[in-house]
């Protein structure tokens, strides 16, 4: 299995489309950093305008942590797209290339093929998030320095002490990786159904966007179905930036997301195992 995963990762990283994600983040994040250099103080002012009426504060609140937090918040749609771009091609790409014939006539099971491709996709997703973390957190800290983190959540202003922040980010990125793994799994499932990668990529994004829109509509019916939409839990990384951290809610979100991953993967495996290879 390890050999298969190595081969799949090799194939993934030999394709130019894989680098779109890394380049996009490598360009987008510095753009945000640059914007924050010029407009950061103004942004911070805006965020704290209400408290400023009654309080005076000192400290480097415009720091790498705040910028990283804002970046994580704002990349909710971009990252899923970059993940789907690769995950949607994992199975469909072989069909397009006609290489299934070569692969499946090898003495390896279809289960091994699907599993190794899936795991390679998950590894790619995690690498993308690690890259995001490095670009936003590490570079952010270098440019803006360290300091306390100001977060506004549920109409509460929270300030986290310097030494109380990094672990939250590490777990938040971890959780973000889990959320993006759900996206990868969904794209992977769609990939098992068709013979062209465009379909899975577009379908995955359509599902995410529709779910996000439905969750945002403030009508009772949609609010009732909101807890059943996985996109609702992808954003739960923000729970780490609360005090106290609601671990029970996080565990619930983790289990739901993990459940989705298992479900999407199992379905893809079932479909692929039963499929007639006609390409």
């Amino acid at each position: 299995m390890l050999t298969l995963i190595q081969i799949e990762l090799y194939k993934i990283f030999k394709k130019w489309r894989t680098y779109i994600g890394f380049i996009a983040i490598g360009v987008l994040v510095p753009i945000i950093h640059t914007a924050m250099v010029f407009e950061g103080a103004h942004t911070l002012n805006f965020m704290t305008r209400n408290i400023q009426q009654s309080f005076i504060f000192v400290g480097n609140l415009l720091n790498g942590y705040l910028v990283s937090y804002l970046i994580l918040t704002s990349l909710a749609v971009h990252i899923p797209f970059l993940v789907a771009l690769v995950a949607g091609d994992l199975l469909a790409g072989e069909a397009t290339a006609g290489t299934y014939r070569m692969l499946i006539t090898r003495p390896i099971s279809r289960t091994q093929i699907v599993t190794s491709k899936f795991l390679a996709g998950i590894i790619y997703t995690h690498l993308l998030i690690i890259w995001l973390a490095l670009m936003s957190l590490v570079v952010g800290l270098i440019i803006f320095g360290s300091g306390e983190l100001l977060v506004i959540s549920n109409q509460t202003v929270i300030i986290f002490e310097k030494n109380d922040i990094l672990w939250r980010f590490l777990l938040a990125y971890d959780f973000a990786a889990l959320g993006m793994s759900v996206v990868a799994s969904l794209a992977f499932l769609f990939s098992s159904l068709v013979e062209n990668a465009i379909g899975p990529i577009v379908s995955t994004m359509a599902v995410i966007i529709v779910f996000l829109i439905l969750s945002a509509i403030n009508i009772d019916f949609f609010q009732t179905i909101k807890p059943y939409l996985f996109t609702n839990y992808i954003l739960s990384w923000r729970l780490f930036f609360n005090t106290p951290v609601d671990f029970s809610e996080l565990i619930k979100a983790t289990l739901i997301l993990a459940g989705h991953i298992v479900f999407f993967f199992s379905l893809a495996l079932y479909i692929f195992n039963r499929k007639d290879i006609l390409t």
């Binding site: 103080a41 005076i56 000192v58 918040t73 506004i152 109409q155 300030i159 739960s236």
Partner: protein, 235 residues
């Protein structure tokens, strides 16, 4: 006869005490405070406000007469605006009318209540009530009503070991009703339950900030340059 004289003297005493001069009371406090030319002090700030979750912070406050104040911290620190500067002269910097109300026992200390009504339209304060400890010529408590920030109270505690009229602890209390509750960042949908939103806006919970002062360095000289730096970051 003796009885009559005694009675008369008592009545005169009462009469005097009932009609204390508020301006005099205040001026004594100001004069006492003016013994302090400058100071720097270490502060420990604890914020206890429902919509603020801020860790206990350490900072330094610098003060120089008549009204220069500077807050400095290694990391982050925040203080209510109205609690930054509590010297009597700052409380009384604009024109005002003072009325002596009565003497009252405040936490076991005898204090005189003086009401201060600023005249003219400058300043945010509409009315202040001062509890003045005439024994050591300090203000024990202030209650002020402002135009924009509701009512706040400052309770002062003093340490006998400090020879100057500088508090060891102040408790700054305010009414959350009038304080604007901040919106979320970047407008993304709230992942939290919506009902807390309503709870806050109807809430009459009091917020508190407790500041402990220690290690006063009084009249040791504070250079003006400290106050010239970009003062407290209010932007």
């Amino acid at each position: 006869m003796k009885l009559l004289i005694c009675l008369f003297l008592v009545l005169v005493q009462i009469g005097f005490s009932q009609s204390k001069d508020p301006d005099e009371i205040i001026n004594k406090v100001v004069t006492n405070f003016n013994r302090v030319k400058d100071y720097q002090v270490d502060v420990n700030i604890k914020i206890d406000v429902e919509f603020l979750k801020v860790p206990e912070t350490k900072a330094k406050i610098y003060f120089k007469q008549p009204d220069k104040v500077h807050l400095e911290a290694e990391g982050f620190a925040m203080l209510p605006k109205n609690g930054m500067e509590f010297s009597p002269s700052s409380l009384l910097k604009n024109d005002y009318t003072a009325i002596y109300e009565q003497d009252i026992d405040l936490n076991g200390v005898k204090t005189s209540i003086v009401k201060v009504i600023p005249t003219g339209d400058q300043g945010d304060v509409i009315l202040s009530t001062l509890w003045i400890d005439q024994k050591i010529q300090v203000i024990r408590k202030v209650e002020s009503t402002t135009k924009t920030n509701g009512t706040f109270t400052i309770d002062f505690s003093y340490d006998d070991k400090v020879k100057f009229p500088l508090p060891a602890k102040i408790v700054f209390s305010f009414n959350l009703d009038k304080m604007n509750i901040p919106a979320t960042i970047s407008g993304e949908p709230d992942t939290e339950k919506p009902h807390t939103k309503n709870k806050n806006s109807d809430s009459r919970t009091k917020g508190k900030v407790i500041v402990n002062y220690s290690n006063y360095q009084v009249n040791k000289g504070v250079p003006d340059s400290i106050f010239e730096e970009k003062n407290n970051k209010s932007e």
